[in-house]
């Protein structure tokens, strides 16, 4: 067992909990940046035995793109919006925290039932990726502000990225680059959507979006 890998994965889960439990948008974005950079470190630590160029590349891409560029972009998106915090979420903060704790327990139970064809670097990777995905879902469902939902989506993507790190040897670059590109485009689109909602309604509640038109 690798103590450093364990510490970093526990850090990832705890950062996820802090993201889910905080109500300030700025804090959420910063924590998301930190978590994404830590995920890059996970990739480096997991393959520390035989480090190859493309692994370092994926890790660096994750750190730069997810850890630096996307948080800055999200900050740009909320710059013109006067709302700085999630005032009345659909699911309260305490309940969100409780649900996330349950999701962690559930993902560990689920992961212990699954059988994987190849050996895995650490038993903690799969449960932590599951729990990040569930926490992202909780954030998307439980919050009203568009930007919180974007962060929920990104949190979910972080979970998927953590899972994809396991496949790095089998399918180098293809999956990761696809995910990173998708994610980047999605963030850009959502940033524009957030700005348009706020221009139209003077806030960024997605509850205002009730009718479709072309």
């Amino acid at each position: 067992m690798n103590v450093w890998l364990d510490s970093v994965l526990i850090l990832v889960i705890i950062l996820g909990l802090f993201i889910v439990a905080s109500s300030r948008l700025g804090t959420m974005i910063q924590l998301f940046g930190v978590q994404s950079s830590v995920l890059g470190v996970v990739a480096l630590l997991l393959y520390a035995q035989d480090l190859e160029f493309y692994i370092v590349f994926v890790a660096l891409a994750a750190i730069v793109l997810r850890g630096i560029i996307m948080p800055n972009f999200l900050f740009w998106a909320i710059r013109h919006v006067s709302v700085r915090s999630e005032v009345s979420p659909i699911i309260g903060l305490g309940v969100t925290l409780l649900l996330s704790a349950l999701s962690i327990v559930g993902s560990f139970l689920l992961a212990s039932k699954l059988v994987f064809p190849a050996a895995i670097g650490s038993e903690l990777i799969i449960p932590s990726s599951f729990s990040l995905i569930i926490m992202g879902f909780i954030l998307i469902v439980g919050r009203i502000k568009a930007i919180s939902q974007v962060i929920g989506y990104l949190l979910m993507e972080n979970g998927i990225f953590l899972f994809a790190i396991l496949l790095l040897k089998k399918m180098p670059l293809l999956v990761e680059m696809g995910i990173l590109l998708d994610l980047f485009i999605a963030t850009v689109v959502m940033g524009i959507v957030v700005n348009n909602i706020s221009d139209e309604f003077n806030n960024m509640d997605t509850l205002e979006l009730t009718t479709l038109k072309d």
Binding site: D6, I14, A21, G94, L97, I104, F108
Partner: protein
């Protein structure tokens, strides 16, 4: 005859108020004041001992018994917990459960005494204490369970004298979680600043203080002393988890222990000087995060143990 348990008892009885003195001095330093002397808590206790208590006519024997029972329960918990490598007087299989529930007993009698005064104000404090107590107690229990699991010992002496020595290398991350969670519980249980301010009597935010407003004289001295011992025990528990290195040389261990625990008191003073008190409804989140830290640690330990067996 073996003198070590006697020595252990002496430290347990004499040392605790000094911690409060060090915390007070640190806070005074941060405020740019001279501050009271390090021995002020001892003087306060001595002064209170001289005074005769005043009892309201609405109170019953419960009110008079509570300070004695709670202090006795906390001291009884103290003789289960080893101080560095000093063996305590009493140890048996599973004494960690007794350890936690002696604290629960101390809390219970104080809550009863607060209700016994018939003041709605103290009833409010009792209700807060009981609510937050639920969360911190289960966290304590989980943390001690984790320690028992990873050291494969079921008594506090077994865990802290030798049992944990090699665990930092194997399950360091889990122990960090345990330390963080213990620290948060320590702040909450001992009414330190992010949760409760031990120095003010502001009715809207008090938790522990509000329950002992009607106690006076000797009774108040018992309660203050009991709180000091409780802080000392939590601090000892915390540094026993952090510093597992022991020389097993009697005096060197004691000197190291005194340095460590006074250092922890300084850290507490710094935390209290630099942080503002949390709003009452945030306290639940504070304790809840302590609980989540310990539950993540617990799950990781379970996964690791299952992995080791299969």
């Amino acid at each position: 005859m073996d003198m070590i348990p006697l020595f252990h008892l002496m430290i347990l009885i004499v040392f605790p108020p000094l911690l409060l003195g060090v915390i007070g001095k640190t806070k005074a330093f941060f405020a740019g004041r001279q501050g009271p002397s390090l021995w002020q808590p001892y003087f306060d206790l001595y002064k209170l001992m001289q005074k005769s208590p005043v009892y309201s006519v609405t109170t019953t024997w419960i009110f008079r018994a509570a300070p004695l029972v709670s202090t006795a329960a906390i001291l009884a918990a103290g003789i289960l917990l080893p101080i560095t490598s000093l063996k305590p007087a009493v140890q048996f299989w599973g004494d960690l459960v007794l350890f936690i529930y002696l604290f629960a007993l101390a809390r219970f009698v104080i809550v009863l005494a607060a209700l016994d005064t018939g003041s709605s104000f103290e009833g409010m404090g009792a209700s807060r204490e009981a609510t937050f107590g639920c969360l911190s107690e289960i966290t304590m229990f989980l943390n001690l369970t984790i320690l028992a699991l990873i050291s494969r010992q079921m008594s506090l002496s077994g865990i802290f004298i030798g049992g944990l020595a090699s665990c930092w290398v194997l399950v360091g991350p889990v122990l960090i979680l345990v330390v963080v969670s213990f620290f948060l519980v320590l702040l909450a249980e001992n009414a330190r600043i992010p949760i409760d301010d031990p120095e003010t009597h502001l009715e809207l935010t008090m938790i522990h203080e509000v329950m002992v407003l009607d106690h006076s004289g000797v009774d108040l001295a018992y309660i203050l002393y009991g709180k000091a011992v409780k802080l000392f025990l939590f601090a000892t528990l915390l540094i026993s988890v952090i510093f597992t290195f022991k020389t097993h040389q009697f005096f060197i261990d004691i000197v190291l222990f005194v340095i460590e625990i006074l250092g922890l008191a300084v850290v507490l003073g710094v935390v209290e000087s630099t942080m503002a008190r949390l709003r009452m409804n945030k306290v639940v989140y504070f304790l809840f995060s302590a609980f989540i830290f310990s539950i993540i640690g617990f799950i990781v330990v379970l996964v690791r143990l299952m992995g080791a067996h299969s």
